[in-house]
Amino acid sequence: EAGVVQSPRYKIIEKKQPVAFWCNPISGHNTLYWYRQNLGQGPELLIRYENEEAVDDSQLPKDRFSAERLKGVDSTLKIQPAELGDSAVYLCASSLVDGGTDTQYFGPGTRLTVL
């Protein structure tokens, strides 16, 4: 079974430029997460989708970040414009809620460097 796929793996941009990350979850997983992981820290949730609906985006900086999950499968996370502080690893995870519990499977992440 294929795992969570993310692209690109690495991205270097200059500040004020836009950037987008793509995630393809595990087949059949209805829940999708985007996390941001700063250096030396654990992941922090940005947004959670159940199918096409964003059910928790309370931690997403909406002035510059946006996300979408069309057709309830793939998802895209966008930053526009990027700031120096956005440099981090952006992780996507997916899960299939089963019996009221949720185990997340993570992709390899996209390492963003903003210069």
Binding site: Q6, D56, Q104, F106
Partner: protein, 113 residues
């Protein structure tokens, strides 16, 4: 509010020695608890999880963890560490359904020959 504390930023053990990584959590009800491992440049891989039942949980790669409600702890153990175990380890806690997952800051494990 739920939180996770991993007191050790990094730990160094000799290959073949035993390992224990500490994790303390704060949560008002019965938590869902997880341990993940992250190798450099990789995403997080689930080692084990506790939802209910037996408080001693077995995971992959020879790891186990014990849930102690009285101590609010979920420490990770391995009887004999291999060089390939060198990585960053994250403890996480979630509420009912596991949806709102909070991660600790991680413990980096170094293994010396």
């Amino acid at each position: 509010a739920q939180s996770v504390t991993q007191p050790d930023i990094h730990i160094t053990v000799s290959e073949g020695a035993s390992l224990e990584l500490r994790c303390n959590y704060s949560y008002g009800a019965t938590p869902y608890l997880f341990w993940y491992v992250q190798s450099p440049g990789q995403g997080l891989q689930l080692l084990l999880k506790y939802f209910s039942g037996d408080t001693l949980v077995q995971g992959i790669k020879g790891f186990e963890a014990e849930f102690k409600r009285s101590q609010s702890s979920f420490n990770l153990r391995k009887p004999s560490v291999h060089w390939s175990d060198a990585a960053e380890y994250f403890c996480a806690v979630a509420g009912t359904g596991g949806f709102k997952t909070i991660f600790g800051a991680g413990t980096r494990l170094f293994v010396k020959a």
